[in-house]
């Protein structure tokens, strides 16, 4: 479903970025990078302290002709950005939300590992597997 998934740290550098078609990877990287602006805009817009699941999910950030970019931010300002193919019209909001939820859970599991220092690149195989499963689903 997703063609590219990225985890961005609080300081806006990538902790993890992976895309399905291994060519055009740079294009996805660029897209993710530009979408960070949108993310910041949405975060600053909601200035209230109360954050719940709904506000963690940022929704559609930026539609292009081929792709749609969705965003999700955690309480510690770690951002998940997902790029999906526009041709996947069947992809509903709920599904995107559930995908983000899964991502968040896996990310939490990565955090639980004491050998993981926050701020490192994510090299967990379990996380990789989960992301792969999300990306391969479409085929």
């Amino acid at each position: 479903m997703a063609v590219c998934i990225a985890v961005i740290a609080k300081e806006n550098y990538p902790l993890y970025i992976r895309s399905t078609p291994t060519e055009n990877e740079l294009k996805f990287h660029y897209m993710v990078h530009t979408s960070l602006d949108m993310v910041d805009e949405k975060i600053s817009a909601m200035g209230k302290a109360l954050v719940d699941q709904r506000e963690l999910y940022l929704g559609l950030l930026y539609p292009t002709e081929d792709y749609k970019v969705y965003g999700y931010v955690t309480n510690s300002k770690v951002k998940f950005v997902m790029v999906v193919d526009s041709s996947n019209t069947a992809l509903r909001d709920n599904e995107i939300r559930s995908m983000f939820r899964k991502l968040h859970n896996s990310y939490t599991d990565v955090m639980c590992n004491p050998f993981y220092n926050p701020g490192d690149r994510i090299q967990s195989r379990a996380f990789d597997n989960m992301v792969t499963s999300m990306m391969i689903q479409v085929c």
Partner: protein, 657 residues
Amino acid sequence: MEAAAAAAAAAAAAAGGGCGSGPPPLLLSEGEQQCYSELFARCAGAAGGGPGSGPPEAARVAPGTATAAAGPVADLFRASQLPAETLHQITELCGAKRVGYFGATQFYIALKLIAAAQSGLPVRIESIKCELPLPRFMMSKNDGEIRFGNPAELHGTKVQIPYLTTEKNSFKRMDDEDKQQETQSPTMSPLASPPSSPPHYQRVPLSHGYSKLRSSAEQMHPAPYEARQPLVQPEGSSSGGPGTKPLRHQASLIRSFSVERELQDNSSYPDEPWRITEEQREYYVNQFRSLQPDPSSFISGSVAKNFFTKSKLSIPELSYIWELSDADCDGALTLPEFCAAFHLIVARKNGYPLPEGLPPTLQPEYLQAAFPKPKWDCQLFDSYSESLPANQQPRDLNRMETSVKDMADLPVPTQDVTSDDKQALKSTINEALSKDVSEDPATSKDSNSLKARPRSRSYSSTSIEEAMKRGEDPPTPPPRPQKTHSRASSLDLNKVFQPSVPATKSGLLPPPPALPPRPCPSQSEQVSEAELLPQLSRAPSQAAESSPAKKDVPYSQPPSKPIRRKFRPENQATENQEPSTAASGPASAATMKPHPTVQKQSSKQKKAIQTAIRKNKEANAVLARLNSELQQQLKEVHQERIALENQLEQLRPVTVL
């Protein structure tokens, strides 16, 4: 022989010309060619199982069509007396893994590699380019004769065929498992010198499998074989060899098989290197105890991190091992998780590649069920092997409960919990013996759910406990506030005052001033009570009267009544005090008139007030002490937090903007 030589030359040429991406061209000397072709023929011939001697087999050794069966090949390789890992590497390098069989080229390359390894060269493709002596195969007399240029002896191999076919099957199975393990990780770290004793022990299983098969093969062949048992025994003492399934099969064929006793507690899991033996289990549990005295509670992430970092594995590997072993992903390791992690580390240090997923023998449920908890359990349950799982679950449940209780109501000091644990264990030991096995699913579910519950709790509780423990010595846990809260709610004060209520109640009740106690409407009651009281005063026991007296006091009745009752009971009490307190003579009792009773009342009130004051002061002191303790703890936690924040700041990478 010429045919053999020709075939060998053809094979060599094929090896030289063929598969460009495969192993490099192989140049064999005359002697090597002869020897190799012979060996290949033998292996291929044994595989074929058909009649006929050397030349027909050699004729079949056409390049690319004949394959040597894995069984005899494995036999041959083992006879080279190289360690199992080297043999694995050789099979990998020669390409037999890739193509899946031992063709002529692969076989020849393998033989050359064996020769290289035996001469001490590293197992690499480059080492076979130079001139090497013939590979030596330490087989029994039979094979030796065959090898040393007596092709007619090939007939002897036919006798071996039925045995070897069974072995071939078994070896294939084992080989597949080993291949499976190896394909999982492309990089196999080269084995350095044998590490310390527990890891060395772990090294045994893979080679143990080879040696077991070897010993079994030799057992099958009759007398002329040399005794290999002395070789087998020192290598492995307990179970855990990879070839247990084939061994069972062969053990049924052979009766006097001394290794059979090692098969006793093996189930049908194929991944034997991941099985934890009893000795290892003891070691792991001791290590766990050194980190965390209570075997049923967790080791926190940071403690485990420090401990495992000592193993000098790289951080990504340790991270991956943690990922595999921490099944519930809560950032803490229970005892089975810890054992699994330790086992994986030990295996990794010995050169085993890390598995893709947690092997079934290292799953926490399996580890909990399969092995009894250490020390007292082992001694007691040695003879109750079949009731072990049943005992395990209730005990685990008990432990879970106590640990959950520990987590939930933090005030309980850990020492009490451990002692309670032991007592609970001892009690459950007595009752668990009669426990039903059918309770297992329920208890395991409970223990699982209980285990799943601390997931969210373990963060806060472990950190608080750590902070607490840091302040004091581990053996003496800090005196945590038991029942009193920091908030001085009135409830607590009431609780504090409860014991003193009966004593001071009479004083607390505001006694109205001295009214002449002659109320009219309640006279009947009073009269009855008055009658009662005199009657009771005749009773020998004072307690019986003082209790009704006291009982009357809490009654919410018009003030006159209490006075009345007080008057009466006081009278009676004082009168009844006479027999008990001989000091106060009847004169004092006689002088007790309403006037002195009023005075007594006020004095009693004063006393009551004083006791109340004293109680208040005590409560104040208790609360003040409590307050100071909590302040201290708050300070400590603050310091903790500051330290952690500093750490975080240091670890955070430099931000680029």
